[in-house]
Structure formats: structure tokens, C-alpha cells
């Protein structure tokens, strides 16, 4: 076409001006279809519970390798005076001399009540430790995940459409490089360039010390409403605190995005290429639909299906394992705490962390599968 058309907007509206994309499905999900969907979800939830139980059993078996005293020690607070007494108490309280299934049962009950033991590496209750640390991971993930997903989808689609064009070559090169670089490498490189040489971004940590002190000073009455510093700053009327947190988040987010967007671009691109060669695309073209409608309405939706799984797993993976990035940038989130726990053989924390991870992964799996069943009508009954 001679003049460059910015058809995207018009087409998006045209495609939705047909008004028949999502509306129908919402309106016409009949009773039987809803029942099927509900049954599917219930089945998956049961499976989820089974897998979680399996994970907990596995984790529990690991702890059974330790002698009784060591196991009791896991429940003892770090600052207790009479150690032997505390151990004896713990043994009694948690039935550590009872047969396997009793112990497992007690442990499970305690787990559900939120008592996971005492974390040696962080000198707190495991639950408290996890609760105070996950916001830092969250701060990074909440910016990184959407960036990765949307950037990945967009660049993947563009690469597929203009195959071997400039965008394609550049994306592929960047994605190969991004995927190949070790995360600490990228992180330290960014630190060296942007923090060390240019000084644009702060050096390490999730907040500058002045704000940290501010938060801890009692007379400032800093209320931790959500536990996430980013939001608490705004909720306490201190927007500059939030900005400071944001400033500290930039480099870690760039690190994470660079590495993970590569995979998403690749998968989206190959999925899109495969979809574009499907028969129904020919049908769509033969109906006289414009190229953009064919691509964005027909092809992209089908191509997004495998990408959906990937992004679900990606987000779950991000939430549980930003270990290297957190270490490099000194963020003090879940990942680095997990590493510290492992190197210190802090078993309660490891167990808690493992259960949390398993829960996150399996729920991410479940959410992705439910999304599948919603997007792709063929997958309902499985």
C-alpha cells in the first residue's frame, strides 16, 4: 500500500465494532457449559491439593532424616534461655517422638495455622520472615512481569509478521543475547555503568537509608498498611518515599526484563508463525478481511495459547526465584532469604519456602489452565 496506514486503532475498533468478539461468549455461556467449567475447575483443585500434599510429604521426609533433637530445635525460638527445656517442650508439643504419620499430621496442622517454626537465618518466625520479605520481591515483579509479557507479545508478533525484517533480526539478536547473559552479569554491568559511572541510579538496596530511618522512627507514625513499601509510601502521604523505592527498582527490573523477555519473544514468534500458516487464516483472508484484522483478531488469539502457559509459569517463577538479582542489588527479598536459609541449613524456612513455591506454581498452573479453557473453547472438557 502506498500510504502507511495506522490501521491498528481503526481495526481494533472495527474488530470490536463488530461487537461480536467477547460479548457473545459472555452472554451465551450456557448452563451446561458453565457446569462443565465448574467441574473442570473442581477437578483441577483436587489435583492441586494432591500435588501439594505430595510436595509437603517429600519435604517432610527430608526433615525426618534429622535426629529428634535437631528437629525439636527447629521449633525453638532463638533467644530462649534454657535450651534443653525448650527442646523437651518442643518434642512434647509437636509430637516429635510419635510415629511418622502423627508427626506429619501435627506438622500439617501447624502449617495451616501458620506456624512453621523458627527461622535461624533470619531470627524470626518463619511466617513472619516470609511475610516481611516477600514485598521486596513483589516490588520488582509487579513491574517486571507486565513489561515482560506485553513487550514479549508485541515484539513476538511484530517479528512474526515482518519475518526477517529489521524488527525481526533485532529482536532475535537481542533475545539471544538477553537469554544468554548470566543474570548477575547483566545486573553488575548495569550497576557498573548506570550506578557506578553515570550515577543515574542508586547503588544497592531497596530504599535509601534516610527513608529507611524515617520508616523506623516511631515518632513519624509510619503505618505499614500493605507491607509493601511502594504503596505504603503513598498511603502515608509520603510520595517521595515511593518514588525512592521506584528509583531503586529500575535497574533490577531492567535486569529481569532483559533476560526473560527473550524467551517470551521467541515463543510468541514461533507460535505466531505456526498459526499464520493454518488453514483458517486463508479463510479469513478469503473473506476480504484486512491484513491487520487477520493478524490481530484471528492469528494472534490462537497464537497466544502456548504463550499463556509460559507467562503464567514465568510470573510464578519470578515470584519465587529472583535470587541472583536480589543478591546483586541487595534487595532483601524472598530469593536472597532462601539462599541464606539454605546456606545456614535453616530447615523450617526452607520447608516453608518450598511449600510456598509449590503452591505458587501449582496455582499459576491452575490459573493458566482455566484461562486456556476460557480462551480456547476446545479445551473445556479434559
Amino acid at each position: 500500500m502506498r500510504h502507511k496506514t495506522r490501521e491498528t486503532e481503526g481495526t481494533r475498533n472495527r474488530a470490536s465494532a463488530t461487537g461480536l468478539n467477547i460479548d457473545f461468549r459472555l452472554i451465551y455461556v450456557g448452563v451446561s457449559e458453565m457446569a462443565n467449567l465448574a467441574a473442570y475447575i473442581v477437578r483441577r483443585l483436587i489435583l492441586l491439593v494432591f500435588v501439594l500434599l505430595g510436595v509437603t510429604i517429600l519435604v517432610f521426609i527430608v526433615t525426618m532424616l534429622l535426629p529428634v533433637d535437631m528437629r525439636a530445635l527447629l521449633y525453638v525460638h532463638g533467644s530462649v534461655k534454657y535450651l534443653t527445656e525448650a527442646i523437651a517442650n518442643a518434642i512434647q508439643q509437636y509430637h516429635l517422638n510419635a510415629p511418622f504419620y502423627v508427626q506429619y499430621w501435627t506438622w500439617l496442622i501447624n502449617l495451616l495455622h501458620g506456624n512453621l517454626g523458627w527461622s535461624v537465618s533470619s531470627n524470626q518466625d518463619v511466617v513472619v520472615s516470609i511475610a516481611t520479605k516477600w514485598p521486596y520481591t513483589f516490588e520488582i515483579v509487579v513491574f517486571a512481569a507486565p513489561l515482560i509479557i506485553f513487550l514479549g507479545i508485541y515484539l513476538g508478533v511484530q517479528s512474526a509478521i515482518h519475518r526477517n525484517g529489521p524488527i525481526d533480526q533485532a529482536s532475535r539478536l537481542l533475545s539471544i543475547i538477553g537469554w544468554s547473559l548470566p543474570s548477575f552479569f547483566v545486573g553488575m554491568l548495569l550497576l557498573a555503568v548506570f550506578a557506578g559511572i553515570l550515577g543515574w541510579f542508586p547503588y544497592a538496596g531497596s530504599m535509601t537509608n534516610t527513608w529507611l530511618v524515617y520508616m523506623l522512627t516511631p515518632k513519624n507514625h509510619f503505618m505499614h498498611y500493605t507491607g509493601i513499601d511502594l504503596f505504603d509510601g503513598l498511603l502515608n502521604g509520603q510520595p517521595y518515599l515511593s518514588l525512592d523505592v521506584l528509583w531503586h527498582c529500575v535497574l533490577p527490573v531492567i535486569t529481569v526484563v532483559t533476560i526473560d523477555v527473550a524467551l517470551l519473544i521467541r515463543v510468541m514468534r514461533s507460535s505466531m508463525l505456526e498459526t499464520l500458516s493454518k488453514p483458517y487464516i486463508t479463510t479469513a483472508r478469503s473473506k476480504g478481511l484486512s491484513n491487520k484484522v487477520v493478524i490481530y483478531k484471528h492469528a494472534r488469539r490462537n497464537a497466544l495459547i502456548p504463550v499463556a502457559t509460559l507467562s503464567g509459569m514465568l510470573v510464578a517463577g519470578l515470584l519465587t526465584g529472583l535470587i541472583i538479582t536480589e543478591t546483586v542489588f541487595g534487595f532483601g527479598g524472598l530469593g536472597s532469604a532462601a539462599v541464606k536459609a539454605i546456606t545456614n541449613l535453616d530447615i523450617p524456612f526452607i520447608m516453608g519456602y518450598t511449600v510456598l513455591t509449590a503452591l505458587l506454581f501449582v496455582s499459576a498452573n491452575l490459573i493458566v489452565d482455566i484461562m486456556y479453557a476460557y480462551i480456547d473453547p476446545r479445551i473445556r472438557l479434559d
Binding site: N13, R14, A17, L20, N21, Y28, G288, H298
Partner: protein
């Protein structure tokens, strides 16, 4: 050749540049389809039937390239070469003038969208204005009917009343008169200017006004509104005024002039709201630099224009599904392709192709994957549709039985060439080309020995020089090995491409 043909393919050449080499798929194909006839295109697998059909609509996928020839599309006297058309233009042809149905229906339907969605899609691209006008008309009708019902009810109520006094009787009569008048006005009622304008805007939801036009429009509108406000104010002022008779005269004169101005102002305003951006009528997908979109107005929820439009479209979809003899079309419309059986899916695909009443339908082996009984149904359907809609059909198949039964004319293809084309009776009774003869001979008949054509289907990567059939032809001559025969009319309306009939 060109007598009354909708589509005429002349010397079409298509090459596929694959990793295994250059495949010369079509090597000068000559074909034409006349108005309202069914042309059967027969040939073995690999003879180029599908590629020909795709080329007519310019849907040849890469690595295929249309290298030469012309495809003439005739439209009430005008004719264009589809191969040189702009992308916009050919898009308007696809789906509307020529549409296509394919072999494996469930693979050719998008699995994530419902049947309704996919059929409506093509309607909305090509028949949008028509459907919009229809929905406007139907909404108007409902509005009027509603009002009429109310008025009739009032009338009935008034008829029942039986007042006693004189004054009441007069009042009643007056009221009945008003109602009668309103009823009369109703039937002759036209939609108000505002309503028309708002519909027009929904129609032109994607039309762009130039900034200039929009700015002028806004300016004028603002000016008129201000003027109207001032006039209204003056009017109320004047109405409140009372004075002596002399003053009253002038006051009345002022009032008159104000009313006149007001009237004119209102008229101009109404006119303005009807303004169309006549100088800019962009086709689908073009953009005017610096354009501003004018949004359709908000509508009362009871008659949500957009939903009315959607309902109209849905009704059309159901109508089309009914026309292809799908039982319970409302339910089928909401189903997804994977829930349909093969025959049902093929009907849906046919419905999709017919949604915009195309002048020609290309059917690429639509029944090959279906059971024989279903095949018979689909064939009957196709014939009925041809009778009802009058569209021409290019029916591609490798089944000669189907051709004999349903087609009006036959074109026989071999290795990228059309070797013979003639009326179906003529072809079957008097086949001229050796390949056609061999093909007809190879149809198994009970009691007769099985005759096959010696040799195998040629590879088109290194095609034979001269006539491509010469290595399997029992009448091949010296000439056939080197010179390609021309496609000429040997008998009236019987074309052959063979040296035996003077193709040199």
C-alpha cells in the same frame, strides 16, 4: 471466450520458489466461468486446481508467486485485472464478489470463535451500511409501533368513557381529535433529524473528518447554540413584558422577529447536524493525516442502537444458516467449530461464503472428506443455492461422477495446464484431448477391464518441455515434445489444447 463470463483466467503462470527448487505449478492456465453456471474443474492431485482457485482471489501463499497472465473480473460492463488491482480493491472483491469454500471445513474455521462471530464478520465488512439501514428501519418501526400502541390504548380508553356534561363531551371530542391527529402523524412520521444524524454517525463510526471540517463544524455549532441561547433569552424576556398598546405592538414585532430568527437558527442547526463529510469518503483502512474521529452519540438504554444493530446482524446470520439447511440455526450459530460434525461444518463454511451474496463461489473439493450421503446433500444444496442466488460456481473436484451430475461445463487440468474445456455433455460424449479420453476411460465400469493411464503424475520441479502430457500420451507426435500447444476453440464452445487439433 468472453461471452458473459464473470471471471476469465488468461495464461496464468504461477511458480513456487521452494527449497527443493522452483515448482512451475501453473503454466499458462486458461479458464472462464460464465454467469450463473457451474464449472467443474477436474484434475488429479497436483495438477494445479487449488492453485488456480487461490490465484483468482490472489491468495497464493508464499513461496508462491504469480508470474504472468491476467485474471479478468467482469462487473456489469466494467472489467478489471485482479492481478494488478490494489490491495484495497481486491479485498473488497474477496468475500463479496467472489468467495471460497475449502476442503476440510473444520480446519478452515477458526477454533476460538463461534460460528456466529465468523459469519457476522464477513457481513460486517461488506454489508455494513445495508445492515445498519435495516436496523435503523426496524428500530424506527418498533418506536412507531410502540407509540401507536400507546395511542391506541388511550383511544380505546377514551372510547369507553361516556361523559355526561356538554363541556366534558367537548373535551372528550377534543382529546380524541388530538389522538387521531397524532396517530395520523405517526404513520407518516419520519425519524427526527437528530436521530438520523446519530445513526449516520454510527454508520460512519470509522469515517474520519478532517480537522478542518471538524473545527468548522464545532465553530458553527457553538455559534448557533450561542445564538439560540440569546434568542431564547430575549424571547422569555419579551414574553414577560407587558406594557401599553403601543409598546405591545413593538413588543409583538420584536417577538415576531425573535421567533423568526429562532426558527431559522433551529433550522440551520438541524441542517448542520446532518452534515456529512462528503469530501472525505475514505475506503476501509485508509487514514487522513490530521483526522479527528467523531463519535456516535449516546443513546437511551432502551433502544441501544449498537445492540439493535447486533441483533440485526444476528438475525441475518440465522437467515443465512437457514438457507444452507442447518437445523436449529440459532443454536448452531452459538456453537464452536469443534462441536460441529463434518457435514454441518461444511454447511457453515458455505453459509459464510454466501453471507454477502457473491457473484461467484469457488468450491475447492468441498466434499472430498465427507461421507457419500453427506456429499449428496451438500451437492444438492449447492445446486439449490445456485438456482436461488444465481451465482456462478467453480467446483473443483477429482470425482468425475460429481462433475457429470452437477456441473454445466467442465474444465480438465493436467500438470498445470487446462487441457480441455467444454459443456459437460459435450465433454463426456465427445472428449477430444487424449488425457480427457484416458480419464473417462479409466472410470471403472462393471464387467469391463480396468484401464489406467500409463506413467505417473509428473513432478513440476522439472516439467516436461512442450506438451506436458506427451510422455503418457498414446498419440504423441514429434511436435508434442518441443512445442507447447495453444488453447484454441476447436468446436463452438469447446476448447482444447492439443496439437492433434491444430494447437500449433
Amino acid at each position: 471466450m468472453s461471452k458473459g463470463s464473470i471471471v476469465e483466467v488468461q495464461d496464468l503462470e504461477v511458480k513456487f520458489y521452494t527449497y527443493a527448487g522452483v515448482v512451475e505449478a501453473l503454466d499458462g492456465v486458461n479458464l472462464f466461468v460464465r454467469e450463473g453456471e457451474i464449472l467443474g474443474l477436474v484434475g488429479e492431485t497436483g495438477s494445479g486446481k487449488s492453485v488456480t482457485s487461490l490465484s483468482i482471489m490472489r491468495l497464493v501463499p508464499p513461496p508462491g508467486v504469480i508470474e504472468g497472465g491476467r485474471i479478468i473480473l467482469r462487473d456489469s460492463g466494467k472489467q478489471q485485472n485482479t492481478l494488478t488491482m490494489k490491495e484495497d480493491t481486491i479485498r473488497k472483491v474477496r468475500g463479496k464478489d467472489i468467495s471460497m469454500i475449502f476442503q476440510e471445513p473444520r480446519a478452515y474455521l477458526n477454533p476460538v470463535y463461534s460460528v456466529e462471530n465468523q459469519i457476522a464478520e464477513v457481513m460486517l465488512v461488506h454489508r455494513r451500511e445495508e445492515l445498519l439501514e435495516n436496523s435503523i428501519a426496524s428500530v424506527q418501526k418498533r418506536l412507531i409501533d410502540g407509540r401507536k400502541a400507546v395511542l391506541e390504548k388511550e383511544k380505546a380508553r377514551l372510547d369507553k368513557e361516556n361523559p355526561q356534561g356538554e363541556k366534558e363531551k367537548v373535551e372528550l371530542a377534543k382529546r380524541r381529535q388530538t389522538i387521531e391527529k397524532r396517530l395520523a402523524a405517526l404513520t407518516a412520521k419520519q425519524p427526527s433529524n437528530n436521530e438520523i444524524a446519530s445513526y449516520r454517525r454510527l454508520l460512519k463510526a470509522e469515517r474520519y473528518w478532517s480537522t478542518e471540517n471538524a473545527r468548522q463544524f464545532q465553530k458553527k455549532k457553538a455559534k448557533l447554540e450561542r445564538l439560540r441561547a440569546t434568542l431564547e433569552k430575549q424571547k422569555t424576556e419579551l414574553e414577560g413584558k407587558k406594557g401599553t398598546e403601543k409598546q405591545m405592538v413593538s413588543i409583538n414585532k420584536q417577538k415576531q422577529s425573535v421567533m423568526a430568527w429562532l426558527g431559522q437558527c433551529n433550522r440551520q442547526y438541524a441542517e448542520l447536524m446532518q452534515v456529512e463529510p462528503t469530501e472525505y469518503k475514505p475506503g476501509l483502512g485508509t487514514r487522513i493525516p490530521g483526522a479527528v474521529r467523531v463519535r456516535a452519540m449516546r443513546f437511551p438504554a432502551r433502544f441501544n442502537r449498537k445492540r439493535q444493530f447486533q441483533n440485526e446482524v444476528r438475525k441475518e446470520v440465522v437467515k443465512v444458516l437457514k438457507s444452507v439447511e442447518i437445523p436449529d440455526p440459532e443454536r448452531v450459530a452459538r456453537m464452536y467449530p469443534h462441536e460441529l460434525s463434518g457435514g454441518m461444518a461444511q454447511r457453515v463454511v458455505i453459509a459464510m461464503a454466501l453471507a454477502c451474496n457473491p457473484r461467484m463461489l469457488i468450491a475447492d473439493e468441498p466434499t472430498t472428506n465427507l461421507d457419500v450421503t453427506v456429499q449428496a446433500q451438500i451437492l444438492n444444496l449447492v445446486k439449490t443455492l445456485k438456482k436461488n442466488l444465481g451465482s456462478a460456481i467453480l467446483y473443483i473436484t477429482h470425482d468425475l461422477g460429481v462433475v457429470a451430475q452437477s456441473c454445466d461445463r467442465v474444465a480438465v487440468m493436467y500438470a498445470g495446464n487446462v487441457v480441455e474445456t467444454a459443456d459437460v455433455f459435450e465433454t463426456f460424449s465427445n472428449p477430444l484431448h487424449p488425457y480427457t479420453r484416458a480419464l473417462l476411460d479409466s472410470i471403472p465400469r462393471p464387467g469391463e477391464p480396468f484401464k489406467s493411464i500409463p506413467g505417473i503424475v509428473p513432478s513440476l520441479v522439472n516439467p516436461l518441455k512442450g506438451c506436458r502430457f506427451h510422455d503418457r500420451c498414446s498419440y504423441a507426435t514429434e511436435q508434442c515434445l518441443s512445442v507447447k500447444p495453444k488453447f484454441i476453440e476447436v468446436k463452438p464452445d469447446h476448447y482444447v489444447s492439443c496439437h492433434l487439433y491444430g494447437g500449433s
